[in-house]
Amino acid sequence: MDANANMHLTLNVWRQRNNSTEGGFVTYEVSDVSPDMSFLEMLDVLNERLVHEGKEPIAFDHDCREGICGSCSMYINGRPHGPLKGVATCQLHMRSFKSGDTIAIEPWRAVAFPVIKDLVTDRTAFDRIIASGGFVSVNTGNARDANSIPVRKENADDAFMAASCIGCGACVAACKNSSAMLFVSAKISQLALLPQGQTERKIRAEKMVAQMDSEGFGACSNTGACSAECPKEISLDTIARTNREYLGAKMTSSAV
C-alpha cells in the first residue's frame, strides 16, 4: 500500500441490477485511499474488495482513463464528472476530496439514457444523432489535395474546439430538461465553421435537431448548466450558432 494512503471515505453508490428492476443507494466505507489515486482507481479498490467478499462489483463505463474517450459518466455529489471544472471523472483525483467526506455516486439521469446496470447507461442515442447528419458526405477517394482548401486559422481553431466534444453526455445529465443541445451544437458548429461542411449545412442542422427531438431529449432553455459541467468546456456560443443555422435552415427549406 502507498505510504500516504490514509484517506477514509463513505460512498453512497447507486446500485441497480438492470433496466427492469428498481435501484437504490448502498453505502460503502473505504479506507486506505491515497490522494494520488484517480476517482476510478478508488472505485477499483472498492471493487477488488467486493469481489474478494464474493459480492458483485459496481459496474461503470470507463476505458481510456485519460479524459478523451467519453466512456466514464457519473454524478459525483450531484455534479456530472464531479467537482472540478473541465475534468472528466477518470481524471479526477482523490486529492480533490478530504478524508471523512461522504460522496454520492449515481448514473446519468435522462429518459434518453436508460440505465443498463449500476452506473452504466445506454447512450446510443448520441450515435443515432450523428448518423442522422453529423458528417460530411464524402466517400473515400473523392478528396482533393488537402492544402487546396485553405481555412482561416481562427475558424480552424474554433472548429477544433467544438470538435473536441467527447460524447460523454454530461451536458444532458447537467440539464434540467435533459437537452442534448450542447452535444448536437458542437458537431453542427464544427462543420459549419469549415468550408467542407457548407454544402450540407442546412440539412445537417435540420436532421440532427429532428433526431435529437425524436430520441426524447428535452428542449434547450439556455440555462447554461451544460457548458458549465462539460469536461471539454464546449462553449455556449455553439448553441447560439446552431440556433442561427437551424433558423436559417427552417426559413429556406421545407424538408425536415
Binding site: A5, E48, G70, H93, T124, G133, V136, A146, N147, Q196
Partner: protein, 662 residues
C-alpha cells in the same frame, strides 16, 4: 534460410514504385450487384476498423461492425495524441515517399517488409486529403494551410496534428463516415458486443461468435470475410498506456483457429510517460512524443541528487540524449530513448520519489518561443517575465491539453517545474501475420491496424500507427479484398446453422461456464497484475535467455493457478465486466508465453527487442542479419505448443546498415 511455403506474402512483381499501382489496377473487381450479396464482418471500430467498414459499405458491400465499448467512437484510437505522418512535403524540407519509406524501414531496424512499407508511404498523402475533406480540424498556420511538426527518428516535418488530440479527431472523422453508412443502412453496428471466436468452415473463415455484453447472449454472425481490427496487446503487461479495455482476445482466437502470429515479442516501450506513482495504479499515461520536439531531457550529473530541479545549475545537468546522439538529440527513435532513460536510472541518476524518472524540461523552449513572440510583436525591450509569459502562451497553444493532463495526474504544474517521465509499454509491432493483401494464413480472415504485424518491423516510429490504421482501412483493404471476394460470389448466403457454428458456439459457451465454475479465491485483476509483473521484469525493455526461460515456467504455473483458483462473481447472462476481464486475462496469459518464446528464439537485439547478450560496446542493439532477418510467424498447435515458420525479409531497395542516430 528459406521462407516457409506456408507464408506466401503475395508481393506483386515489378519495381517497388510500381507494385501497388499495377497491382491495384489488376485486382479482380466485384460488380455492384454481387457486392450487395457479400457480407463482411469488421471486428473493431478504431481507425482501422471504422475506416474499413465505412469504405467497404460505400463500395456496396454489406457490413457488420463490432466493438466492445458502448459506441464505436470510443475505440482506443481516440486516445492517440501526437499526430499522423504523411509524405506531403508541404514544408518543402526534402520529404518524399521514398524518404518516409526509408525512415520507416530504418526506424523498424530492418525487420519489416519493403513492399508493404512502400505502399504505406505511397497512400499516406491521400489519408490527409480524405481526413481534411471529412472536416477533421488539423492544426493550421496563419495563412490557412496545414501545419506540421517533427517526430522521433526523422529529420523532416511531416507530422500532421490536431493539438494533442490527433487520434480523437481522426477517429471522429472515421466514425462519422461509419455512422453515415449506419444511417443509410449499409453498415449494421453492434456495440457492447465482444467477438469470442471465429468460425472456420472447410478451411475458410465464415463468421464469428459474439457475445452481447448486456444480455450475455451468444450470437452467430456469418460473413464472406472477417476483418480483425481489434488493436494491440500492450495490456499483456498490465500497466501500459493502452485503454483499460484493450485486449488480445479477438486476435488470439483467430490465432488459435489457424492464423499465424508474427513477431509477438516486438513491443514498443514509449520513453515519455508519467511514472508509476503507487500500487493502486491502473494504467499509465503517455506524454506525447511531440513534447520531445521542444522539451529537453536530462538527469543530474551526480548520482542520487536530491536537489529540486531549479537548484541544479546548467553545468551539473546531463542532457544524455543530446550527448550520446548529437545528430538526432532528443528526437532519437523511441526504443533508443527508452533504453537510454533506463540506463541512467539503473545507474543511479534517476529523479523523483521513486528515482525511476528523468526530467523533460520546457524552460528553454518557453524562453525561445517567448523571444520569438517578442520579436514578432516588436517588443525589443521585453523583460524576462514578459518573455516567459509569451513563451508559456505559445507552449500552451501547442501542448496545452498535455500539460493540463500532466498537472491533473501528478498535481504539479509543468509550466513551472520540469515534468518527470519514464518509459512505459505503449504499442505492439507484433501481431497477426498477414500477406500483401492483409489476409492472414486463414483464407477470408484479414487483420488490419495494430492487430497485424505488418509495417513497423522491430520498432514503430511516432505518428505512424495512425497512418497505418487508416491506410489499411481506407486505401488498402477496399482493393485487396477483391482478390478473395471475386471468387466468393457463388458462395451464396452462409448459413449459421452449419455444424461449425454449432461447435464453435459450444466451445465458447463451455469456456464461459468453466470460468464461472472455478469459484476459487483470486480475481482476474490479480492474475493480470501478476502476469504483467513477469512480463515487465523478464520480457520488457531488456531481456536475456535465463530470464525468458524462467518467465515461461512462471507463466505456465500462473496459467495452472488461474484455471484452478479464479473467482468470477456474477453470471453469464448479464452485464458482467468481471467475466469479460477473466476471458481476456486467460488469453493474455497464453500470449505472454508465446511472447517469451519468440524473444528467446530471437538471438539478437533489434529495435524494441533488446537481448542483453547481444549489444555493442557502447550499449546499442546488435542485430544478426545473417540469422534473423526474418519474420517469426508462429503456428498454434495446442496448449504451450507452437511451430515456428519464417518469412525471409529481402531488401532490394534499401542498403542495410547498422542503425545510427549519432
Amino acid at each position: 534460410m528459406a521462407t516457409s511455403p506456408l507464408l506466401d506474402a503475395k508481393i506483386p512483381a515489378g519495381p517497388l514504385e510500381d507494385k501497388w499501382n499495377r497491382y491495384r489496377s489488376s485486382v479482380p473487381l466485384v460488380n455492384p450487384a454481387n457486392k450487395r450479396r457479400l457480407e463482411i464482418i469488421v471486428v473493431g471500430t478504431g481507425l482501422a476498423g471504422a475506416s474499413a467498414a465505412a469504405t467497404l459499405a460505400e463500395l456496396g458491400y454489406k457490413v457488420k461492425a463490432f466493438c466492445f465499448q458502448d459506441s464505436p467512437r470510443r475505440a482506443h484510437s481516440i486516445a492517440a495524441q501526437g499526430g499522423i505522418n504523411a509524405a506531403k512535403n508541404y514544408q518543402n524540407d526534402g520529404d518524399s515517399i521514398y524518404r518516409l519509406f526509408y525512415d520507416t524501414v530504418k526506424g523498424g531496424d530492418y525487420r519489416s517488409r519493403e513492399s508493404n512499407v512502400y505502399r504505406l508511404a505511397e497512400v499516406s498523402g491521400s489519408i490527409i486529403d480524405q481526413c481534411v475533406a471529412q472536416g477533421v480540424p488539423f492544426a493550421r498556420e496563419y495563412g490557412g494551410l496545414l501545419s506540421n511538426r517533427s517526430f522521433g527518428g526523422v529529420q523532416v516535418q511531416r507530422t500532421f496534428y490536431a493539438a494533442g488530440q490527433t487520434g480523437q479527431q481522426l477517429l471522429l472523422g472515421a466514425y462519422s463516415a461509419l455512422e453515415r453508412q449506419v444511417g443509410m443502412g449499409t453498415v449494421k453496428m453492434y456495440s457492447r458486443h465482444e467477438m469470442l471466436d471465429v468460425v472456420v468452415i472447410d478451411g475458410k473463415c465464415r463468421g464469428i461468435i459474439a457475445r452481447n455484453m448486456v444480455t450475455g447472449e451468444l450470437e452467430r454472425h456469418a460473413g464472406h470475410a472477417v476483418l480483425i481490427c481489434s488493436g494491440g496487446y500492450g495490456n499483456v503487461f498490465y500497466l501500459s498506456t493502452n485503454a483499460m479495455g484493450s485486449n488480445v482476445t479477438a486476435a488470439w482466437k483467430a490465432h488459435k483457429r489457424g492464423a499465424f502470429f508474427g513477431n509477438p515479442c516486438f513491443t514498443q516501450i514509449h520513453p515519455t510517460c508519467i511514472p508509476v506513482s503507487g500500487e493502486h495504479q491502473s494504467k499509465l499515461t503517455l506524454m506525447s512524443e511531440s513534447l520531445r520536439n521542444d522539451g529537453r531531457i536530462w538527469v543530474p550529473k551526480k548520482q542520487n541528487d536530491n536537489r529540486i530541479p531549479s537548484a541544479i545549475p546548467e553545468d551539473e545537468r546531463d542532457y544524455y540524449l543530446e550527448r550520446r546522439y548529437p545528430a538526432f538529440g532528443n528526437l532519437v527513435p523511441r526504443d533508443i530513448a527508452s533504453r537510454a532513460a533506463k540506463e541512467r536510472c539503473d545507474a543511479g541518476y534517476g529523479v523523483g520519489p521513486s528515482k525511476m524518472a528523468v526530467y523533460l524540461d520546457y524552460t528553454s523552449a518557453i524562453e525561445r518561443y517567448g523571444r520569438g513572440e517578442a520579436n514578432k510583436n516588436n517588443l525589443f525591450n521585453a523583460t524576462p517575465e514578459q518573455i516567459t509569459v509569451m513563451g508559456k502562451a505559445v507552449v500552451k497553444e501547442k501542448y496545452g491539453n498535455l500539460f493540463d493532463m500532466y498537472k491533473q495526474i501528478t498535481g504539479e504544474d509543468p509550466y513551472e517545474v520540469p515534468m518527470r517521465i519514464y518509459p512505459a509499454v505503449h504499442y505492439t509491432m507484433g501481431g497477426i501475420w498477414v500477406d500483401y493483401n492483409l489476409m492472414t494464413t486463414v483464407p477470408g480472415l484479414y487483420a488490419l491496424g495494430e492487430a497485424n504485424f505488418s509495417d513497423h518491423g522491430a520498432n514503430r516510429l511516432g505518428a505512424s500507427a495512425l497512418m497505418q490504421g487508416l491506410a489499411d482501412g481506407y486505401f488498402v483493404i477496399p482493393y485487396t479484398i477483391g482478390a478473395y471476394l471475386a471468387n466468393e460470389i457463388r458462395s451464396g448466403d452462409i448459413s449459421t446453422n452449419h455444424e461449425a457454428f454449432d461447435q464453435t458456439e459450444r466451445d465458447v459457451r463451455e469456456r464461459i461456464e468453466k470460468l464461472l465454475s472455478i469459484q476459487g479465491k483470486t480475481s482476474p485483476e490479480h492474475f493480470h497484475r501478476r502476469l504483467g509483473k513477469i512480463m515487465w521484469d523478464k520480457c520488457g525493455m531488456a531481456r536475456n535467455a535465463k530470464g525468458l526461460q524462467e518467465a515461461i515456467q512462471e507463466i505456465r504455473a500462473l496459467r495452472k493457478e488461474f484455471w484452478s483458483d479464479l473467482r468470477v462473481v456474477g453470471t453469464a447472462n448479464e452485464l458482467n465486466p468481471e467475466l469479460d476481464r477473466a476471458g481476456r486475462v486467460a488469453d493474455f496469459i497464453e500470449l505472454g508465453e508465446l511472447m517469451c518464446l519468440d524473444a528467446l528464439n530471437r538471438n539478437e537485439s533489434c529495435g524494441g527487442h533488446f537481448r542483453e547478450e547481444y549489444q555493442t560496446e557502447d550499449g546499442e542493439a546488435l542485430r544478426d542479419d545473417e540469422n534473423y532477418m526474418y519474420v517469426a510467424a508462429w503456428q498454434y498447435l495446442g496448449e504451450s505448443q507452437w511451430e515456428l515458420h519464417k518469412e525471409d525479409l529481402e531488401y532490394e531497395n534499401i542498403k542495410i546498415a547498422q542503425r545510427s542516430y549519432k
